[in-house]
């Protein structure tokens, strides 16, 4: 067991190395001089030269990668060209809004998608099932920013129920925090609900065809008990898996949603970094999010041990 844990954790190391290599090579393989690409067209040759030295471009690519990843490992993500601050510090300042948004979205999603998926599987082919499948195709097709703007227009501007944009820190009180995050979280959860409800429905529908469900019904357990304790529990592994995979969608969605709702989180930092061509910052954010994604999927893998006692590595 302990051996498995260690092996599974060790298995993420090559993935992280490859991620770092890909992110590293993206700039180094850029057409033309990477330093010029970072600085834009109007850079002086002195500035380009200093960036070249900073990036260590005189060295060979493997040496550059080695130096660059050694700095990463020591926690030095570099310095923002535009804001002249350490990238790690900038990221740390922006984590709270993004984490709040992501956590609330995850709560909304699980509370909505799992019951919907279970009910749709229970009445397979019924009206709820069809509506859910229709909704899920729709959810995959409408871009988050369109949903966001429609919600702002309807709920905030026409009805005046919620603030239009912006963010209130958690320390300013739970209610303002929640009022600012409801619409963004709904916006972000739509595609995620579509994904998770679909998989829940499929996994529960499959579990419902099993013999143990027939046995449970035969011994007189209520339908709710059958669904919750027999079908859903057995469908937990694929559901948790897709929640983990869906984090990638969530991260992409955060960037868009924060822009629409003017939430000063990591997503907006990304867009600001792009608009000011702040390459070290963009690179660090991408690495950071990829690392989080790998970490969450590691936790998902480990959760199988709790969710399914049959799984013993």
């Amino acid at each position: 067991m302990l051996f498995f844990l260690l092996r599974r954790i060790a298995a993420t190391v090559p993935v992280l190395v490859v991620v770092a290599l890909i992110v590293f090579l993206m700039l180094r393989l850029a057409p033309g001089d990477p330093a010029a690409a970072i600085l834009g067209d109007n850079a002086s040759s002195a500035a380009i030269q200093s960036v070249r030295t900073q990036l260590g471009l005189e060295n060979s690519i493997p040496v550059q990668f080695f130096q660059w990843s050694a700095r990463l490992l020591s926690g030095d993500l570099g310095e923002s060209y535009f804001l002249k601050q350490s990238v790690a510090g900038l990221i740390a300042q922006r984590v709270e809004p993004t984490l709040s948004l992501a956590a609330l979205t995850l709560v909304f999603t699980v509370l909505i998608a799992v019951p919907l998926g279970v009910l749709a599987a229970w009445r397979h082919g019924g009206w709820l099932d069809r509506a859910l499948m229709g909704f899920s195709v729709l959810g995959f097709s409408i871009p988050a920013f369109v949903i966001g703007y429609v919600l702002i227009w309807a709920v905030s501007l026409k009805l005046g129920w919620l603030p239009v944009q912006g963010y209130a820190r958690l320390e300013e009180g739970l209610l303002p925090w929640l009022r600012h995050l409801i619409l963004p979280a709904i916006t972000l959860s739509i595609i995620y609900v579509a994904l998770i409800a679909r998989v829940t429905r499929a996994a529960v529908a499959e579990a419902l065809t099993e013999d143990y469900v027939r046995t449970a019904r035969a011994k007189g357990i209520s339908e709710a008990g059958v669904l919750m304790r027999h079908a859903l529990v057995n469908a937990a592994v694929p559901i948790v898996t897709v929640i983990g995979i869906g984090i990638a969608l969530l991260i992409g969605g955060v960037v868009v949603t924060e822009t629409v709702f003017a939430i000063p989180g990591l997503g907006q930092l990304t867009v600001d970094a792009v608009l000011s061509r702040d390459y070290p910052l963009i690179q660090a954010i991408t690495l950071f999010f990829s690392f989080i994604y790998v970490l969450i999927n590691l936790l998902v893998d480990l959760s199988y041990l709790l969710l399914d006692p049959r799984i013993r590595y």
Partner: protein, 316 residues
């Protein structure tokens, strides 16, 4: 139409999924056309493609022409358009105009060209890349470990962030955008292909071909690849849908197509500043974008149901 969707087997990857019976393209097409979702999605898509091709004859003017005097018109307004080139003509602003007086309807119709082209180009590039990697990983066992680790790493980077980073390093151009959206889609195709190769290479006819000293390239293209055509078509459709969305997202964020090209994302990015007064600048391109992606997704679901029932949609 959607009620017929069979339950998705599960969220876990299914390396042993049996490839659908390899059919000739003609019989695949005939089978697919009997499906309602394929017809609905397909016909909507054909109409959108037709709209994109017929753009100059659909009451449009030059989508980049500026006339500040007729800026911020509401949908249905009629007005005189004075282009900077000195031409003056009456024009019906079917969907209103933006702050620079550019005709939204014209921009949306011409924008369809960009979106559809990007969708198809990304799908083609991602399929090509995925086929090469997947065939190589499945057939040449020595390459398998390295290639699949690279694919794992690629999958660990959220697609939109990959695209943003690449565009930031490489400068925005149509080619960069297509490459930036296509690369994150490669691992899924590669995994699919690899699993097909691993199943099929044990088949007697493949072993026979290898025993007869058939060159690997011929074994792969003649005997193995045809088995993957159905799932590849389905996967390609989904990639196309997601590429159209991602392109719009990138343009919306300001990292997409150069601003002088009218794309749905660019129109929405410019319209969002004035969204509260003139919501149509965002909503009209938004509706077209959603409709296009929806049509492609419905087509994909229909194709999956008819061609390849075992292949799960967004599994793995």
């Amino acid at each position: 139409m959607l009620a017929k969707t069979p339950p998705i087997p599960s969220g876990t990857p299914q390396p042993d999924a049996e490839p659908a019976s390899a059919g000739r393209p003609a019989s695949l097409a005939r089978r697919a056309l009997r499906n309602g979702a394929v017809r609905l999605g397909g016909s909507t898509l054909v109409m959108l493609v037709f709209m994109a091709m017929a753009a100059p004859w659909l009451g449009t003017i030059d989508p980049t022409a500026i006339d500040p005097a007729s800026g911020n018109l509401l949908p249905g307004a009629r007005g005189e358009f004075n282009s900077l080139a000195g031409q003056t003509f009456q024009h019906l602003f079917l969907m209103g105009s933006d702050s620079l007086g550019r005709d939204i309807w014209s921009r949306v119709v011409y924008g369809a060209r960009v979106s559809i082209t990007v969708g198809i180009a990304v799908a083609a590039l991602a399929l090509a890349g995925g086929i090469i990697v997947g065939l190589a990983a499945g057939y040449f066992r020595r390459l398998d470990g390295v290639l699949m680790r690279v694919m794992d790493g690629l999958m660990a980077i959220p697609g939109i962030l990959f695209a943003i980073t690449l565009v930031a390093a490489w400068r925005a151009s149509v080619a960069t955008i297509v490459i930036a959206i296509a690369i994150p889609e490669i691992p899924r195709v590669a995994r699919l292909l690899r699993s097909v190769v691993l199943t099929i290479r044990e088949e007697p006819y493949v072993e026979a071909a290898i025993a007869l000293d058939t060159p690997p390239l011929k074994v792969l293209t003649r005997h193995i690849l045809p088995n993957a055509i159905a799932p590849l078509i389905v996967q390609g459709t989904y990639i196309c849908a997601s590429a159209i969305l991602v392109e719009a997202i990138l343009s919306f964020l300001g990292v997409g197509m150069p601003a002088d090209i009218p794309t749905w994302g660019n129109i929405m990015a410019e319209g969002r500043i004035q969204f509260t007064q003139f919501p149509h600048n965002v909503l009209v391109p938004g509706v077209f974008l959603a409709l296009t992606v929806l049509a492609v997704n419905i087509l994909g679901d229909g194709l999956r149901d008819t061609l390849d029932p075992k292949f799960s949609k967004r599994g793995a």
